[in-house]
Amino acid sequence: MAQDTDNASAVRTSGFRFGRLFERIALLVVWAVLIALYGAAMPQSFLNWGNFAILFASYAPAAMLALAIIVPLTAGDYDLSVGATLTLCSAIIGVLNVWQQWPILLVLAVALAVGVLAGLVNALFILFFRIPSLVVTLGTTSVMTGLAQWITNSSTIGGIDNGLVMAVVGGRLFGVPYAFYYALGTAIVMWYVFDYTPLGRRLLFVGRGREVARLNGIAVDKVRLGALIASGVLSAAAGILYAGVLGSADPYSGLNFLLPAFAAAFLGATTILPGRFNPWGVIIAVYFLATGITGLTMLGIPLWVTNVFNGGALILAVTLSQLTRGREAIEIG
């Protein structure tokens, strides 16, 4: 009897295994189709490796930011402040390194420490005062954006230490600037933590069932605190990449990454491991969106289309990720 049931389930799983596989790589296929379409429209300018090399490097901060977002998202908290943390950290790098002449390594350490601090402040209000994460991080976004404008006098600071610029975009591996590989390395580390450590399991259960996690002896608040600090540090790292890619600190443009990064986080949850926020899905989704925007820009479509594209992509991505979870409501607070 048990044998029969097992066989039956084996048949059933192989039946939908193909559908499952397609779901997992669907985004890659769509990405390939998108590249083919743009390639057909602009064979010279779009389909060349230089174009893609620039795309991979210039969206590395966005990729890092999207990776930052999925840590607290997996633990069940929104962190909208990642964009502002990126902006503030790159501003701090500009101010301390260019204006105050601090050595670059010390400045980078300060930037990462600010990321930790941002995570701690968010956690204080989310975990200690029990305020919804959406509200807290919306508030800290505005606070940090304001601080970034204050310390930079609302100006772009050029002339950041060449060491940083060289480390980020100075060299290339397989024709792609280093910046991309920092994001890739982060994705690998996160893949390991998410899928191959007990911590990853705890993170997942804290996000999906707080009470279940608590009754299984998991220190839920500690896990959430860790996730918020991780997103702070990772978005500080994204700020470092951004400063390196630009060679300057811009107190305004960093927030532009927020929407595509969130869209990528949710879109990434529809691929590779459908139904879960996962780092490989994020990397694919970021560069899928980047390809879409770059192509549109190269076709000469006006700038406002970027906003429409990003916003539309976010809503579509959340809808798709909801559908892949079998219409379970996403319980994130």
């Binding site: 048990a2 049931t5 097992d6 191959y196 007990p198 999906r208 069932g209 279940v212 009754l215 998991i218």
Partner: protein, 543 residues
């Protein structure tokens, strides 16, 4: 149908007068749930101005009846419902009850704590009446009148969260009556307020205020159906009592002529054994493993008991008696007021305030919560992860989580605890309720706990699975695990427990062992214990 209209003055004389037209006349209402008979054709009448008690054990059909009246369930064809002599089309649609002059107060009261008394009271009118704007001055006046009509001194602008539990219950009942008052005034016919266990969490002194309010409502010739587990309360306030048992009307009594014993007999369904005179002294037959002393938290008051190695100890009682809190308090999953754990293997006693789930796990305790969906397992995650969640570090070797080993162990556990289909990679949500519960049982059994705490382990589980779960529990106790099982299911307790503690009003009132430990014995003890614990006070109030 004009022949049916009866002058209100005649009706208002209430029961005892020559056959007044009943407000509610239920005839042969039945309901099957996939072969299981919840109601096997019941008939009864509620007369104008009457407070009518509805009693019965869990599963006797009370809640099914309430849900049919509320339009939540469709009854099986063949039954009939009449309101004030007027037959109504079955099934009722949700919300129909209000048009018929009936309203409900459920146990959770359905109040919005963050809104004011006024807003709660006028909620239904304010949201349904098509008015261009809300005249707050008039609304406040109407609310004050409604409260004043029953002599209640509750400030309409007070937030409901600031009210005492008793005031909240009073407010909910006044609101229920207000909802049908206009309807009744328009038709000139009496209405019906159905109170579904509003009292278990109220202090004794609050209950008489509730009773006074119920009497004033009945004085307006509207009727009340009062559902409660508390026989003393029902006997103190009702005019007549209908007792349901196993989906039929076991008996109808005129309260004035009924004795407490008669009512218990009707509920339980057999003659009463000679009632034990006093609470049994604690007997320790088995080698004791853990002694709990002065445990208090939630509605549980200072309680002490011991569990032996290999013993299955049942905790039970009526709703509100607090027994179901014990497993969570011992596990450190809910805040306690006091208590210590004396483990025979530990020299120092452990204050329960110090306990937390991770510390409990470190002591080899395990807790299977009653709320499987929200506290037991995560539906959207794979069975393997749910099953091995507390053990996950064991599979972390050489820097990597050994997925293969986890799958093998989960599969072996699935085979052992007969999880069907046994596919550890599938989501927990793909399993039936019973199989999901087996996954959670397997999770805890796999840890070979020394103390296993259970809350309603077979709730919503099919009969076959129930047998498998019992077998698993028996096997665990045979290997020395001490098991504490909180349950409202008398049959289950009688079947698996070595000893059952019966709670009432937050305290242990009876200890059942040996020959007393039968399904009926447990059910009876629940009702009789309540009498022991608080009956005297109610009698004083009623008198």
């Amino acid at each position: 149908m004009s022949t049916l209209s009866t002058p209100l003055s005649d009706v208002a004389t209430g029961p005892g007068a020559a056959m007044p037209l009943p407000v509610l006349h239920v005839t042969n209402i039945a309901k099957n749930f996939g072969g299981a008979k919840a109601l096997a054709g019941i008939s009864f009448e509620v007369f104008p101005g009457e407070v009518h008690g509805l009693l019965g054990k869990n599963g006797s059909g009370k809640s099914t009846l309430v849900k049919i009246l509320a339009g939540f369930h469709a009854p099986d064809p063949g039954g009939k419902l009449e309101f004030n002599g007027q037959a109504v089309d079955l099934p009722l649609k949700a919300g129909d009850f209000r048009r018929l002059g009936m309203s409900f107060v459920h146990q959770n009261l359905g109040l919005a704590p963050s809104l004011t008394v006024l807003e709660n009271l006028r909620f239904a009118d304010l949201t349904t009446k098509p008015a261009p704007f809300i005249n707050w001055r008039n609304e406040r006046k109407a609310a004050a009148e409604a409260l004043g009509r029953f002599g209640l001194t509750i400030d309409p602008d007070e937030r409901v969260s600031q009210l005492s539990p008793v005031e909240r219950a009073l407010l909910a009942i006044v609101r229920a009556f207000e909802e049908i008052r206009a309807e009744c005034a328009a038709t000139g016919k009496p209405g019906l307020v159905l109170l579904d266990e509003p009292t278990p969490f109220l202090p004794r002194e609050g209950v008489d205020k509730l009773f006074a309010l119920m009497r004033s409502i009945a004085a307006t010739s509207s009727s009340i159906i009062f559902i409660s587990h508390d026989i003393e309360e029902v006997m103190a306030i009702t005019d007549r009592i209908t007792v349901l048992r196993d989906g039929i009307v076991a008996g109808e009594l005129k309260t004035a002529d009924a004795t407490h014993e008669q009512v218990v007999e009707l509920i339980v369904g057999r003659s009463l054994a000679k009632r034990a005179a006093a609470v049994h002294a604690e007997i320790e037959r088995l080698e004791p493993f853990v002694r709990i002393e002065n445990l208090a938290g939630g509605s549980l008051r200072e309680t002490s008991f011991a569990v032996g190695r290999g013993e299955i100890l049942g905790l039970t009682g009526l709703i509100g008696s607090g027994y179901e809190q014990a497993p969570y308090l011992i596990f450190g999953a809910r805040p306690c007021r006091s208590g210590t754990i004396h483990l025979m293997t530990n020299l120092a006693p452990i204050p329960i305030a110090y306990m937390s789930p991770d510390r409990a796990l470190a002591l080899d305790f395990a807790l299977l919560p009653g709320d499987r969906q929200n506290a037991g397992g995560v539906d959207g995650l794979p069975i393997v992860d749910n099953m091995l969640l507390p053990d996950v570090t064991r599979f972390f070797r050489g820097g990597f989580l050994r997925r293969g080993a986890m799958m093998r162990e989960a599969h072996a556990l699935g085979t052992r605890y007969e999880v069907r289909p046994n596919d550890p990679a599938a989501k927990l949500s793909t399993l039936s309720g019973g199989n999901a519960q087996k996954v959670l049982i397997a999770r805890w059994m796999n840890r070979k706990p020394r103390l296993l705490l259970l809350d309603e382990p077979t709730q919503g589980v099919d009969v076959g699975t129930r047998v498998q779960i019992y077998a698993a529990l028996k096997a665990a106790s045979a290997s020395g695990t001490a098991i504490v099982c909180a349950s409202s299911d008398a049959e289950q307790l009688a079947e698996i427990c070595d000893r059952v503690l019966v709670f009432a009003k937050g305290k242990i009132c009876r200890e059942l062992t040996g020959a007393e430990l039968t399904k009926d014995g447990v059910a009876e003890a629940c009702y009789v214990s309540l009498d022991v614990a608080g009956g005297a006070q109610v009698r004083a109030v009623a008198g």
